[in-house]
Amino acid sequence: MATTSEPGASLIGASVKRKEDQRFITGKGRYTDDVTLPGQTYAAFVRSPHANATINRIDASAALAMPGVHAVLTGADMQAAGVNPIPPGWLHPGIKIAEFRALAVGRVSHVGNAVAVVIAASPSIARDAADLVDVDYTDHPAVADAVAALAAGAPQVHPDAPGNVVFNWQLGDAAAVDAAMAGAKSVVRQHLVNQRLIANAIEPRASLANYDAAADELTLYVTSQNPHVHRLIMGAFVLGIPEHKFRVIAPDVGGGFGSKIFIYPEECVVAWASKTLGRPVKWTATRSESFLTDAHGRDHSTDVEMAFDDAGTIVALRVKTVANLGAYLTLFAPAVPTYLYGTLMSGQYNIPAIHVDVTAAYTNTTPVDAYRGAGRPEATYALERTMDVAARQLGLDPAELRRRNLIAPDAFPFQTAVALQYDSGNYEPALDKALALIDYPARRAEQAAGRAAGTHIGIGLSAYIEACGLAPSHIVGSLGAQAGLYESGVVRIHPTGKVTVLTGSHSHGQGHETTFAQIVAQELGCTIDDVEIVHGDTGRVPFGMGTYGSRSGAVGGAALFGSLQKVKDKGRRIAAHLLEAAPEDVDFAGGNFFVKGSPSRTKSFAEVSLAAYLAHNLPPDMEPGLEATTFFNPSNFVFPFGVHIAIVEVDTETGHVTLQRYLAVDDFGNVINPMIVDGQLHGGIAQGAAQALWEGAQYDSNGQLLTGSMMNYGLPKAAFLPMFETDRTVTPSPVNPLGVKGAGEAGTIASTAAVANAVLDALSPFGITHLDMPLTPARIWSAIHGSHGGN
């Protein structure tokens, strides 16, 4: 097999083919919906067709009369059984938390809000019976837009959140910004809408719960990016099931992009129903349900003011944002438009004064939470789109304006005006490399020649930074997180020297079974086929915070690395004892311990492993066995950065945009598997470009989702996209022993602004300074042809 590596070969930085692929390409992947248990029953949800309504009465008699129906359960039943609302995981001072019940009690607050559940012998019986549950509603006026929700006289989403305000959050020095703005040569102002997106992992959410009455244990299979977080919150806060009686398994998961982080009503209901009925209960979302109930992303309305001196240097930045959080607060929702957004507003630039003001609003829409990038794409878009608007106004080339404002390489660690301290960075080489690879002067010349000939090419830059490797626990704790964001890694050496790793990270496409095995094989001198990576099962992995925020390599990988050092250290002491040498005189290389200067005095790692378990001849006071656990708690975020360049052509007759070229130069620090990193980058670029050009969730004024299926929500297809070009600079991160940063979100964070800037650059001859996304043919055509003006 191509996965087999030679002992001793360098595996860090090698594009090893993925170990997990064999099962996926042969149809042997095991996703939640693939699991079937004896006696399994099926759940179907009764959902609100109204965005804001009072529930007067629920009549389940017709449904209950259907053969094969086991139960119809409501919010009142759950409340009577002592099931609690689902809590958010991040709090701000003064935050107004609306009660988020798994099944609505008394009121519904968005279309798709679950009202009741039918449990039946087959999926079709459950669905048919759900259609027979008669719910009597009184419909009220609804509000879907956050700015409208904050206006006087808007419909109230929740009675206990006056004016629909969830919280107001501010960061930075407002007085310093005011002073700098007053003395500035010029102030560039731009209003930006960062539209709502829907994650659309191709695997719909699913859950299967099985209560074992004999053992009084509940097992839940669920499409989760973080099974231990699911167990903790569902067990301790919602259902009241102690952790040692509750096992959560997230088997193969078909993509997440953030949407499978959160604790959703359906899995709480399925778990509770299984215990209540004493039967396995399964639920699998239809795609229509996914559109209505998977947490959405983005949805900001922002005003940016950027002040410059006469040298084109930024002297201050003021950002005022209204964030739509939907009807309820899900797990990370309060953190996304604040700590993952406002803190990134310095970008790659030395901006002495910044102030960010965010008001979060409740609306009668699906909850909004983290979607790939989570706050950082919104920050990058606000900053980088404004940089292009500013370049045009100041008469500077966009690349030159960026260059003038980059943080100098000798300024690291760099304290920004918005709380973060960047650990490392060297931004100008990435800009230079990107401009050289794309041959920027030649592209500008082509653009000028094309304009003369009637073709409209646009070139867009995006210089981004992201904070990932979430996160230092003491910092997030001080900012309102209700958990720490460390990660665990267990390395278990078997008596033969084979290795089992238990990691709290979770792979839903990231390829940890390969990259983590590469780390182990590199450190222990074995092959990656000697290593098994176990993840996604609270019954096997001691604890974990899961995978999101580009944290698995930088936090989970670092935990694994720590445990590898511990087993090597114990192995060294065993080897020294067996070789009758001092431990400090024993080295380890190529899978063998040996006495320095006497390479013939050697013990293989497997021999030492066996000795550890035989325990016939160990150093005095040493315990048998060879296993280590590490909880790695990072001292800081990691800060990947880069420069992306998009080139588009706009057909001015149709408004159609062709994405011609896309170049990414990124700095992810050390890279474990370049093939996998490039793959994540490709997918991220596609998602970010899709926000610029095609995707956008639309609600009507009654809170009905108009883009509720793949027929009318613009997911990118293969024919929409070019081959992406990728390159890198390498500035290792000092905050973890692997020197890695994160790569999972960078493509999405950078690409939206790059593509939008390219389109607006193409449209500049028409006097169009800005258009909001998605930059659809209709929007562009209308702008060019004047029906909606130029801005």
Binding site: I25, I202, D252, G255, G684, S709, A718
Partner: protein, 163 residues
Amino acid sequence: MTEINVSVNGRGHTRDVEPRTLLVHFLREALGLTGTHVGCDTSQCGACTVLLDGRGVKSCTVLAVQANGGEITTIEGLATDGVLHPLQAAFRETHGLQCGFCTPGMILSAVDLLARNPSPSEREIRHGLEGNLCRCTGYQNIVKAVQHAAHTMAGGASAVAGD
């Protein structure tokens, strides 16, 4: 209930099905072939693509009774005697998958594509896969996988050019 006879991956099956049963549910639930996935309810995503009498079909859009008398190939039946189909091997070789959920349907659509056009251009591949959605890869390495498999199936060496 209606009786149907189908051959799936070379094995005959006779089963009673509800007339409304979709082929994908028949494959997954009656036959336990869970390699065929359901990703949407509007025939957009293509995760459920199988071969019916040699042609790619979205099995969420075919009733099981419509497949009566037909020969079906699912991802589980694509390898022969333990040897991967060139497209399966190519997806692995070029990193044409991440989460794996769209992969069975994507591979079977590509089988259909290469049967109709053994030597497609990049543009023809991209358009040929328009009925299959992938959210992980940006399609780049899927396109490369199809190019790689086309080369292999034409008798070429199996080496893949790097980026």
